[in-house]
């Protein structure tokens, strides 16, 4: 307000000609507008009636149903460590999730879930299992051998080395598998499935799990 007198005088023309009198200049304001300014007029109440009530019910029902449908994709990333009571129901909805099969003829081919993705982990487990079994067998064998030739220290040394080699192989396998996963994620032109570690030569068992993967 203090600067008003000077401000009016600073114009090069007679501002009375614009119809702006001395007292009619609006107050100057400093700073941003308040987030929730006071409103001069109260809002009108909402329409209420049978139609509105029915639409309200429809809206709420629709929302509820849509959230239960498999189309509502839930983020499973942040799983609680402790299994809660409600999770049993979540599992139910996940089951529903699996039941939705879209009509693939109306969708682009590339959106189909890739089959090998599901095959992979199964294969991995098998590979690991087999190698574990082998190591176990080897261990027992070694134990037996140890018992037999207690007096021969050189041999046992050899065998422990063998053991180490086995373990090393296992680690390598795991690494290779992790690498595989990355390949799948990045989707390049290479044929991921071509990677051949030589273990399931002949491809036995890889075709067993093809069925039932077209859904999610």
């Amino acid at each position: 307000m203090a600067g008003k007198g000077r401000g009016v005088g600073a114009f090069t023309f007679n501002i009375e000609a614009l119809g702006i009198g001395r007292g009619s200049m609006p107050d100057s304001r400093v700073g941003p507008m308040p987030l929730f300014p006071n409103i001069d007029f109260k809002p009108v109440p909402l329409k209420a009636g049978e139609e509105e009530d029915y639409m309200l019910a429809l809206k709420q029902e629709m929302r509820g149903t849509m959230q239960r449908l498999p189309h509502n994709i839930k983020c499973h990333a942040n799983k609680a460590e402790v299994e809660r009571y409600t999770e049993r129901y979540l599992k139910q909805s996940q089951l529903d999730d699996a039941n939705w099969t879209p009509d693939w003829s109306l969708l682009p081919k590339e959106l189909m879930p890739q089959k090998k993705k599901v095959v992979k982990p199964v294969k991995k487990k098998k590979a690991v299992k087999i190698s574990r079994k082998e190591t176990e067998a080897m261990l027992t064998k070694l134990d037996e051998l140890e018992k037999k030739d207690d007096g021969n220290p050189e041999k046992s040394d050899d065998e422990t080395e063998k053991k180490k080699v086995n373990e090393g192989e296992e680690e390598e396998e795991i690494e290779a598998e992790e690498y595989d996963e990355e390949d799948v994620e990045e989707e390049n032109d290479y044929i991921d499935s071509y990677f051949d570690n030589g273990e399931d030569f002949g491809g036995a068992g890889s075709d067993e799990n093809v069925d039932g993967e077209g859904t999610f």
């Binding site: 000609a17 909402l46 509105e52 639409m55 429809l58 809206k59 994709i73 682009p108 999610f216």
Partner: protein, 546 residues
């Protein structure tokens, strides 16, 4: 699309399809058409989830895909549009309209289709029949045939249509060059060559479906004989002859209906019931003959209108003529006169009607926000186009000081625009006319954006409210579940009251307050959408004609 629209779309997607779909959807909205790999790279969602999300979006028509935009063999590109996602807001209204027009069966058909995006006729009919049977009393069931008939009716009146077949990369499509999508740049304009469902010849052709049987209850206990169950199981695996033909809701047709309804109810409010019946008859007669985007209906003679009036509505010929003259003279210009032949030719001015309805909406917004005297100034400017400040004060008959205040507050809200007309090229204020004016179309657009913002705020508030009392809501749900199971097992009333008392009185109060708030917020969303619809149709109608 604006930031407000994208925000609202995001909220709607999140609420109906979950966080992942929301992430993908908003990303596509912001960056335009993109291929799978780009989306994967930029959103950082795992491939599996991304694919699922895209499937959901495509399934619900919120996303279209096309390939070969950049020459044959180029990767498929995905594109979403705000318009389609914002329709989610109007779902309750579509369902309600289907109920008023086609009863419960129609309601459920539309509801199922909206929930699932698109479905084949046979599966829709089955689900709807099952749901109807479930609500019927014991021993009765819904015949598939009845539902099929309702379905066919909906198709005949174009409320349902076939989904367009998936686009295949053809030479025609690859011929249209388009700029490659660069991330970060604003969306390339959506090409008008997008195939619409209407452009396929079989769009409204109902396939021959062999469906015999009745709806069944989900819990088929002993009262359903095993023989029928076996039959049913055999039926389910059968083909019905309509595999691969999916149906979707034709939103445009619903919008035409809403528009007609808005005009009719406006006439009823402005004049009276009888004149609204006359307009309704005119609209019904021209439903088939007039194209959806026409400015006005085909001219109808007074004789024709007289013959088509419902007989129970005893309107004599001279009275009809009087009503028609009255409608033509009305300043809202709903009905116009196109000629004198045949006792006078009359049309319904669709676009004028929409413009006037939008104008009335703007006026009432100003009135409710700034008071009736500001509304007077606003109306004055609308009618006189350009006015100087002095003239505004005089014409509005408001004291100069108050008028200035109101005018400036309208100006600051962008509801009124200022036009400078200098007498000399130096724009010296003393030699310049300052003309105030109202531009209806930009103002309507602004109001539309405000509406989007309002709805987004409403949704956010609702989410906040329910988040705040999440624990309470969960508790009440659990107790309700326990009560239901107790009642089912035939527990004693004492036990029931004991369980009921687990919710204390203050908690109950809190719950009631919460329910009230959420209902209010939901209702408000529905009602803001009515305004959105009106302004959207006005904006669309003006932009197509000009």
């Amino acid at each position: 699309m604006t930031a407000q629209e994208v925000r609202l779309c995001g909220l709607l997607l999140q609420e109906h399809f979950g966080e992942m779909v929301e992430k993908v959807g908003t990303h596509l909205l912001k960056s335009g058409a993109q291929n799978l790999r780009m989306i994967l790279h930029e959103t950082g969602i795992s491939l599996d989830l991304l694919k699922k999300s895209l499937c959901v979006l495509v399934q619900h028509g919120a996303c279209v895909f096309s390939s070969g935009r950049k020459g044959p063999g180029s990767p498929t590109e995905y594109r979403t549009s705000c318009d389609r996602i914002l329709r989610i807001l109007r779902y309750p209204r579509y369902i309600y309209t289907a109920k008023t027009l086609y009863g419960d069966t129609g309601e459920l058909i539309i509801e199922e289709l909206l929930q699932r995006g698109h479905m084949t006729m046979s599966s829709t009919v089955k689900t709807v029949a099952d749901r109807l049977t479930q609500n019927m009393e014991d021993g009765r069931s819904m015949d598939y045939n009845d539902v099929s008939n309702s379905f066919s009716n909906l198709v005949e009146t174009h409320f349902l249509q076939r989904c367009p077949p998936p686009p295949r990369a053809g030479p025609k499509e690859s011929a249209t060059p388009a700029p490659p999508p660069v991330p970060g740049t604003p969306t390339p304009p959506i090409s008008t060559s997008l195939p619409t469902a209407e452009s396929f010849p079989d769009c409204y052709k109902v396939p021959h479906v062999t469906l015999i049987g009745r709806g069944k209850r989900p819990l088929s206990s002993e009262d359903v004989d095993d023989q029928r169950n076996a039959k049913k199981a055999k039926m389910d695996s059968e083909t019905h002859g309509d595999e691969g033909i999916c149906w979707q809701v034709n939103f445009e047709r619903f919008h035409l209906h809403f528009r007609d309804q808005a005009i009719i109810s406006a006439v009823a409010n402005k004049l009276d019931q009888t004149s609204s019946e006359i307009v309704r008859t005119m609209l019904r007669m021209s439903e088939v003959t007039t194209s959806p985007s026409a400015t006005c209906t085909k001219p109808l003679s007074a004789n024709e209108i007289f013959r088509s009036l419902p007989t129970n509505y005893n309107i004599a010929r001279p009275i009809l003529d009087q009503y028609l003259t009255l409608l033509v003279d009305d300043p809202m210009e709903f009905v116009g006169k196109a000629g004198e032949s045949g006792g006078g030719m009359y049309v319904v001015n669709m676009h004028r009607a929409l413009a006037n309805l939008a104008r009335a909406t703007l006026e009432s917004v100003v009135q409710e926000r700034f008071g009736s005297r500001s509304a007077r100034i606003f109306r004055l400017l609308l009618r006189k186009r350009h006015l100087e400040q002095k003239q505004v004060e005089d014409f509005a008959m408001i004291p100069a000081k108050e008028a200035k205040d109101m005018l400036y507050s309208l100006l600051s809200q962008n509801l009124v625009q200022l036009q400078e007309v200098p007498k000399t090229p130096d724009y010296a204020p003393s030699r310049t006319f300052y003309l105030y004016t109202v531009n209806q179309l930009p103002t309507a657009r602004m109001l539309l954006q405000n509406c989007y913002k309002t709805v987004a705020n409403l949704i956010e508030r609702r989410l906040y409210e329910s988040k705040e009392s999440k624990r309470l809501l969960e508790k009440s749900q659990r107790i309700e579940a326990i009560l239901a199971s107790l009642q089912a097992s035939g527990a004693e009333p004492e036990q029931l009251t004991e369980v009921e008392e687990m919710i204390t009185a203050p908690e109950k109060q809190q719950l009631d307050a919460l329910r009230l708030h959420i209902n209010k917020l939901d209702s408000a969303e529905n009602q803001v959408d009515e305004t959105i619809f009106l302004i959207e149709s006005y904006v669309n109608s003006t932009t197509t004609t000009s």
